[in-house]
Symmetry: C2
């Protein structure tokens, strides 16, 4: 049986788990896939700091001088990039592809922000890039989109793709913990970084939405055009009001195909009906719903992060890549490797501008409880052609500021923004309105 | 771009949808997969009876004389078997493999009952058999088990894999419709056959459980050793009692790996906690939970039947097979095609006998409401070392027959069967006990 040799870059939580699990299950994987994989070299700054466990010690023996040495190593046939970020990882992947060596990566930030450069080099050199672990951790979503559901035009994808935010929102919703406390808990439990901006600002989810939108459209979707809102404005009371109205609030990534008009790609806190299956996804679990024209709605859920779960996805890519490398080896030639199905091309799909996004809205205003206020607000919305579908105003004390919750019918983002600017200027309205979109995802 | 030519056998709901959708999306599929597929010949008894729609007319023009002619046609490189059953379909697949032509099939009955013969021929001839559509319709479960989750040892799989039964149980549970009426509705809506035995007897689910167990173990699991109970004994009142106890009742296929001791494979009505995600899967939807040692719990759900949804799975197999045929063509040789990862081998995994299955139980007895009855029943269970975890007895009239519901702690099937035989002989117990298993699937 042919052995394919790997070069591993990065030995953090995921890199360490890939190294350990691939070695522990080498025989099982060889039996299942008809090819053996072995690490030839490991490059990782952190390696010297690793505890002296068996995997760390074994990896240390394979240590490459640096990333350049990893790619240049003639034994290395396949590069596994688990460094993350857009600096060293980008240079490593590009130089690996230039050397004709295929790449497995979990790096959604890099794919979202530099996808065109990466995929162009990949196609030019006949060296594919696999990235199952870049979205939804251990859930085999990307292969399913590329292969299992290849017969479908995808009309809609939406999902919970950031476990940190979902953990925070779950704690707030189920236990009434404040945003700040839930964030601190997430940090203490290792679910959130010391600088949590990438997660709670929605940017990590936007990276993943960009990758998914690129798969849906078959082109390189421009990350900078993705509409992004994070969860910083969500308060425990919003989760309570949402529940009373029959909804749950989730940070969702949403990709909607507009056919020849391009694609809508957005990340924002979203009220979804309590009966939607994603409403009951709690904690760090990820879940994605895919709507195909043939298959209808298919849902995937599972662990979105964690070393072992993510290593499951990385190893599946490694085995797939290794099968292709081995097949080429059998032929005895040096031909380019075939791209996986539904490869991302170099076109630039049109991303619908934020102003054109239409959805229902949840508004929470802080208003002084006095006669005529609701009428003033309703008339501003009416003038913008925005219908109100329901109103929730907890009993307050006349003359005091109380929350006023409005649910609207469909409105364009632009119209809503302008109406909110007017509402905000009303003397009876205190502080900025809190605004979340409402989606039912009816087919 | 290379064109791969297909021979299609069967032009019913699924066959017709595959023909229509593959032709309608030929360009999209070619772009995504780098290979074109075209039908070279179609063999179907029903073709003459098809309404004269465009697809039917086009298929009629490609009509093969018979199944032998389909395989013998030198243009046909790949056989798509959508006849179903274990007669003509089995002969077709075996003769196709003998001719070195790979096969795509949706035929779970055939794979479950004649898998060893099929897979042996497949390996001998270097002609793979793909069968994504055999379980869970359009949901890309099988590829995910074989490839996306290839790094995992599977500890447990369980799921709703028969849409007909789930439709009936959903109607009974949500609307209080009787079993007989729900079955008639399912037949009227095309979800159940005129002879519904295969579905409601649990045999279709057992075929699928056998396929899944074979993938989990990597060997040919013996269908005849699978423990099967259907849903004929379920009554609306059981669904109500289950709900009051915090459970839902579903027909589940369960595959549990026992490591070197083999595998437990069973299909039966099962009480699961209301909070389990499968409890809220209603109607003809399928859902399967997969527990892997690395990934943890991953759940898949979506349409388990229907022409278009199933065609999505069949077409994904066709494209995968066609890619391999085309790759071989590029090499200009006639080498065997590689088997897909996690191919099913010819070993015979040990299937745990029914008597050894341990689970909690739900018992519904019809008892005469008089003093001492519960004590008698409890003492029989106690003598068999079966603990009672809860009791539900709706208020009745003394001296009349009333339902008595008992939930037990873990008990072996054999011990429970013997205890029930004793309970049944009690004069106060009227009619046969209704017995369902209870599973929490805690990790």
């Amino acid at each position: 049986m042919r052995t394919v040799h790997l070069g591993l870059a990065g030995f953090g939580t995921v890199g360490g788990a890939v190294f350990r699990n691939l070695r522990a299950n080498a025989d099982l994987l060889a039996r299942r896939c008809g090819v053996r994989v072995e690490f030839a070299a490991v490059a990782a700054q952190s390696l010297a700091r690793r505890p002296r466990d068996a995997a760390g010690a074994a990896a240390a023996r394979l240590r490459a001088r640096d990333l350049d040495a990893l790619v240049a190593d003639p034994r290395v046939e396949l590069i596994v990039e688990l460094i993350g970020g857009c600096g060293a990882a980008r240079r490593l992947i590009l130089s690996s592809l230039r050397a004709g060596k295929p790449v497995v990566t979990a790096n959604k930030a890099l794919l979202a922000e530099h996808g065109r450069e990466i995929f162009a080099e990949s196609q030019r050199r006949g060296a594919p890039v696999w990235f199952e672990a870049s979205v939804a951790g251990g859930v085999p979503l990307i292969q399913s989109l590329r292969e299992g559901l290849v017969a479908n035009r995808f009309r809609l994808l939406y999902g919970i793709v950031n476990g940190t935010c979902n953990y925070i929102l779950s704690r707030m919703s189920l236990e009434g913990v404040s945003f700040e406390d839930a964030l601190r808990e997430a940090q203490a439990r290792g679910f959130a970084e010391a600088d949590p901006t990438l997660d709670i600002g929605g940017f990590d989810a936007a990276h993943k939405a960009t990758v998914l939108a690129s798969l849906v459209t078959g082109g390189c979707v421009d990350y900078r055009k993705v509409y992004v809102e994070g969860i910083r404005d969500v308060r425990v009371e919003d989760l309570g009001f949402a529940r009373r109205l029959g909804y749950a609030l989730k940070l969702l990534a949403i990709v909607r195909s507009l056919g020849s008009d391009g694609v809508e790609v957005r990340v924002h806190p979203t009220l979804i009906p309590a009966a939607n299956r994603l409403a009951s996804i709690h904690g760090v679990t990820n879940a994605v719903m895919v709507r195909g024209d043939l298959v209808g709605d298919v849902e995937f859920s599972g662990p979105g992060a964690g070393g072992d779960a993510t290593s499951s996805a990385v190893i599946s890519d490694i085995m797939e890549a290794a099968r292709h490398v081995a097949l080429r080896g059998e032929r005895g030639d040096d031909a380019p490797l075939p791209q996986p199905p539904s490869a991302i091309g170099l076109t630039s799909p049109r991303v619908a501008p934020a102003d054109a996004i239409t959805s229902r809205y949840y508004l929470r205003l802080s208003v002084v409880d006095r006669p005529g206020v609701l009428a003033r607000i309703a008339s501003i919305l009416g003038a913008a052609n925005i219908g109100i579908s329901s109103v929730l105003q907890p009993e307050g004390h006349e003359g005091r500021a109380v929350p006023l919750i409005l649910m609207t019918h469909d409105a364009r983002h632009g119209a809503m923004t302008r109406a909110l600017a007017r509402i905000r200027r009303l003397p009876a309205v205190k502080g900025p309105p809190i605004v979340f979109r409402v989606e039912s995802f009816a087919s």
